[in-house]
């Protein structure tokens, strides 16, 4: 037991006699008290000069701190914690480089609407603007990539401000917030206890959608011949996966998800067409292209989903449910805008449907597409290993509630295509920002948010190398995570694009040498496995899963394997390519 842990244990004993918390005496204590009041369990962070008073206050708190290797790791771990738990993940960093290192993670959370609160140290107020040591304009840098960034200017109100930032990150369309904390404010004396977390009074959160609009939308959907539901990440964020199931089962409407929407609907159900977009299934892309009425819920119609706007669901009336009015008709015109919480609005629609749509033929058509465009891949008997096979085998042997984290690249696509997802909050990935290196720290946040669920992190060799230092944290915290590096000694997605769109001129995409990840894992204190042969797949998966602590499987895969189906950027979803030959025809 560390000194700090033993201090804490003593305090825990003392607490039984004195349930009352000690009154706050400094701004920093008020900040930590605000986090406690909000229910924070973990903070992911890195120490430093300007944030030290806040860490000092954390010394006396029940909140656990996870010391990350790099602030970017802290922001991704907090992001994944937010995805899995549904509550804001918390990250700390000091001023200057600490704060700038957080920016990628905040931008990532902003794109994917993940709840995160970042607290950054700042130089004392009297030095702000003087280019002091480790000073950066953190609010200025982060404002465009957060819901809001606060600059604390008063020790009396700083705790209440942190509570407001928490509520803002958590409510409405979730996302990241930041509070910049000058050292004189956190060191400053105060006896003001922070108010309960409350969102700013200028920030409205719609709940139910307008009843009349709901009725019109329900009538349109009931009259459709080729209806489809497009379920986005907002369905998961709103805890609306059960409402979606009820709705789709009752009215027998095929369901396509977006990539962030993976897990919102069980992929093993016959109404599921899995996910659509650039590397989505052929049947999902056929369905969203040929539908005459699309019920889109909690999606922002990202270009990786829509392809070229001119050919996106061009025959469809679009019912768009979103909690953020600014997403309505931003990219695709909504014929029936429903501004509301996804769960509440789905319940309203359920009640408003006059009948199920008459769509037997359409459902048959969708099943035919499943048969016509199966997610099959070549399975030669000889090595090298096919990455899809490795993913499929893992998916088959792990429990349904296993959480899958990824980095960004080809491995991410194979994981999302060949893992069968049935539960919400089991898919943890970087979608909008496409942050290579997201996986290694995200798995740490995911595991701490769901300690009883298995966590598997697929990564690529390029992506893993960007944040591999976070393995040291997984070892220190003894987290039972299975990392699987689908190793093709290349930045494979870039190479795939170079082959498809740049005449095979492979500039800066192939690595002449990558580390032996099994040995690297051992150097960090994790367990390492090297997987090269089909005969060893089962036993390696079993050994890695059974190891109590972080394990890394270095899976040497076919370097020539590419990701299909593929809709070229800005292309027509209905014209997805199933192989290289199709790409050449487009």
């Amino acid at each position: 037991m560390s000194e700090r842990a033993s201090v804490r244990a003593d305090e825990a004993d003392a607490d039984e006699d004195e349930p009352e918390q000690a009154p706050v005496t400094t701004g920093a204590q008020s900040v930590v008290r605000a986090l406690e009041n909000a229910g924070a369990e973990y903070v992911f962070g890195v120490q430093g000069g300007a944030i030290m008073p806040v860490y000092d206050a954390l010394y006396d708190s029940e909140i656990d701190h996870v010391t990350m290797a790099h602030e970017q790791g802290a922001s991704h771990a907090a992001d994944a914690f937010g995805i899995v738990s549904g509550e804001p993940g918390v990250c700390f960093a000091t001023s200057g480089p600490g704060a700038t290192n957080l920016v990628t993670g905040l931008a990532d959370a902003n794109m994917d609407s993940d709840p995160v609160i970042a607290l950054t140290g700042q130089v004392p107020t009297e030095f702000v603007g003087n280019d002091a040591f480790q000073e950066t304009d953190t609010v200025g840098i982060t404002q465009p990539v957060t819901k809001h960034s606060y600059f604390a200017d008063d020790a009396d109100s700083v705790g209440t401000e942190v509570g407001e930032a928490w509520a803002l990150a958590n409510e409405g369309r979730q996302g990241p917030t930041l509070v910049d904390l000058p050292k004189d404010i956190t060191k400053g004396e105060t006896d003001v206890e922070p108010a309960a977390p409350k969102r700013p009074d200028t920030y409205d959160v719609p709940e139910e959608a307008d009843d009349e609009n709901v009725q019109e939308a329900a009538d349109a959907l009931a009259a459709a011949e080729r209806p489809v539901v497009l379920a986005g990440g907002g369905v998961i964020k709103a805890d609306a996966a059960d409402a979606l199931r009820d709705f789709a089962f009752e009215y027998e409407i095929p369901v396509v998800t977006t990539m962030p929407g993976i897990g919102s609907f069980p992929e093993d159900h016959e109404l599921s067409l899995e996910w659509a977009g650039m590397h989505g299934t052929g049947y999902a892309n056929m369905a969203i292209t040929n539908t005459d009425c699309m019920l889109a819920i909690g999606t922002r119609f990202d270009d990786r989903l829509t392809g070229g706007i001119d050919s996106f669901a061009p025959d469809a009336e679009i019912i768009h449910v979103d909690i953020d009015p600014a997403e309505i008709s931003k990219n695709v015109h909504a014929d029936y805008p429903l501004i509301g919480d996804a769960r509440a609005t789905l319940r309203q629609l359920y009640d408003a449907m006059p009948s199920a749509p008459d769509a037997d033929e359409w459902r048959e058509q969708c099943q035919e597409w499943k048969a016509e465009y199966p997610m099959d891949y070549e399975t030669p008997d000889d090595e090298p290993l096919k990455p899809q096979y490795v993913v499929e085998r893992f998916s088959e042997v792990t429990p349904d509630d296993t959480i899958v984290c990824t980095g960004v690249g080809q491995h991410q696509m194979w994981a999302s295509q060949f893992w069968e997802f049935t539960e919400p909050r089991t898919w943890v990935s970087s979608h909008g920002l496409g942050t290579m290196g997201y996986g290694a720290p995200a798995a740490i946040g995911a595991k701490l948010a769901a300690p009883d669920q298995e966590v598997v992190c697929f990564d690529g060799d390029g992506s893993f190398l960007m944040t591999v230092q976070e393995l040291s944290v997984a070892v220190r915290e003894n987290l039972d995570i299975t990392y699987v590096v689908l190793n093709n000694e290349a930045v494979g997605m870039v190479r795939q694009w170079q082959d498809a769109f740049h005449e095979g001129r492979r500039m800066a995409s192939e690595y002449p040498w990558v580390p032996e990840f099994d040995k690297l894992a051992e150097a960090f204190g994790a367990r390492g496995f090297r997987l090269e042969e089909y005969d060893n797949v089962e036993e390696t998966i079993q050994a890695a899963r059974e190891y109590d602590g972080p394990a890394v499987v270095d899976a040497i895969i076919d370097p020539a394997e590419n990701v299909y189906p593929m809709v070229p950027s800005g292309g027509d979803n209905g014209l997805f390519a199933l192989n290289e030959r199709h790409l050449e025809q487009l």
């Binding site: 609010v139 200025g140 404002q143 465009p144 819901k147 809001h148 600059f151 803002l168 700013p200 200028t202 920030y203 052929g282 056929m286 292209t289 040929n290 119609f301 706007i309 001119d310 050919s311 996106f312 061009p314 025959d315 469809a316 953020d324 009015p325 600014a326 309505i328 008709s329 931003k330 990219n331 695709v332 015109h333 016509e372 465009y373 199966p374 997610m375 099959d376 891949y377 070549e378 795939q496 082959d499 076919d558 020539a560 394997e561 590419n562 990701v563 299909y564 189906p565 209905g574 014209l575 997805f576 390519a577 199933l578 192989n579 290289e580 030959r581 199709h582 025809q585 487009l586």
Partner: protein
């Protein structure tokens, strides 16, 4: 390279007939709607606190909304400032700008003023002092007045619509314009309507 899946080629598949325009609106063969850019005056009440101007201007620049003018100043309420933003965008862009602006945490309310709004801009124009009487005569024509005069220069103050100020600056060109400063447009709805009771 390998990889690839079975299935019909792209040209052998079922295809929808329709299309959307660049604004994401389904093209109706009967009546094609493509919105042309127009000028819109947005009036916003925002919290009067540090960083608000940069938050708003950064929003407009990163989302590529075309700003003609942006002014900000205090109101009768110490905690509230008013911004008047003139943009030129097609209708969907105007709607999007309003919604994005409303979403900022310091924003209290946003309204687009109708075409009949009262718009004013203030300009100070410094010209050569060689012909003060002629300068005064032109200033009179535009309802302006000289507010500073030396042997070398005369400074004229003018208020009016953007068009009127444009015209006045043109008229003063004959006196060798040395400097012009313009405030940008401030605007209010005509009649009894106010922004506070709109939102």
């Amino acid at each position: 390279m390998t990889g690839g899946m079975p299935g019909p080629a792209p040209d052998e598949r079922m295809r929808p007939d329709g299309r959307r325009n660049t604004q994401g609106i389904r093209i109706d063969p009967e009546a094609e709607v493509t919105h042309e850019p127009r000028e819109a005056v947005l009036s916003a009440l925002v919290k009067h606190e540090p960083g608000v101007l940069s938050e708003v201007s950064s929003l407009f620049s990163r989302r590529q909304f075309n700003i003609e003018s942006l002014t900000v100043g205090p109101t009768h309420d110490d905690g509230v400032a008013r911004m008047t933003i003139v943009i030129e965008e097609p209708q969907p862009g105007i709607e999007q700008a309003k919604k994005q602006l409303r979403k900022l945490v310091p924003t209290i309310s946003v309204t687009e003023l109708d075409q009949q709004n009262t718009r004013r801009e203030l300009a100070l124009i410094k010209v050569s002092g060689e012909k003060p009487d002629d300068v005064n005569a032109v200033a009179d024509m535009y309802g302006g007045k000289a507010v500073d005069a030396t042997a070398e220069s005369v400074t004229v103050e003018l208020t009016g619509s953007k068009q009127k100020i444009d015209a006045a600056v043109g008229a003063f060109e004959q006196f060798d314009v040395q400097e012009v400063v313009r405030t940008g447009t401030a605007a209010l709805e005509r009649g009894a309507d106010t922004l506070e009771n709109d939102d």
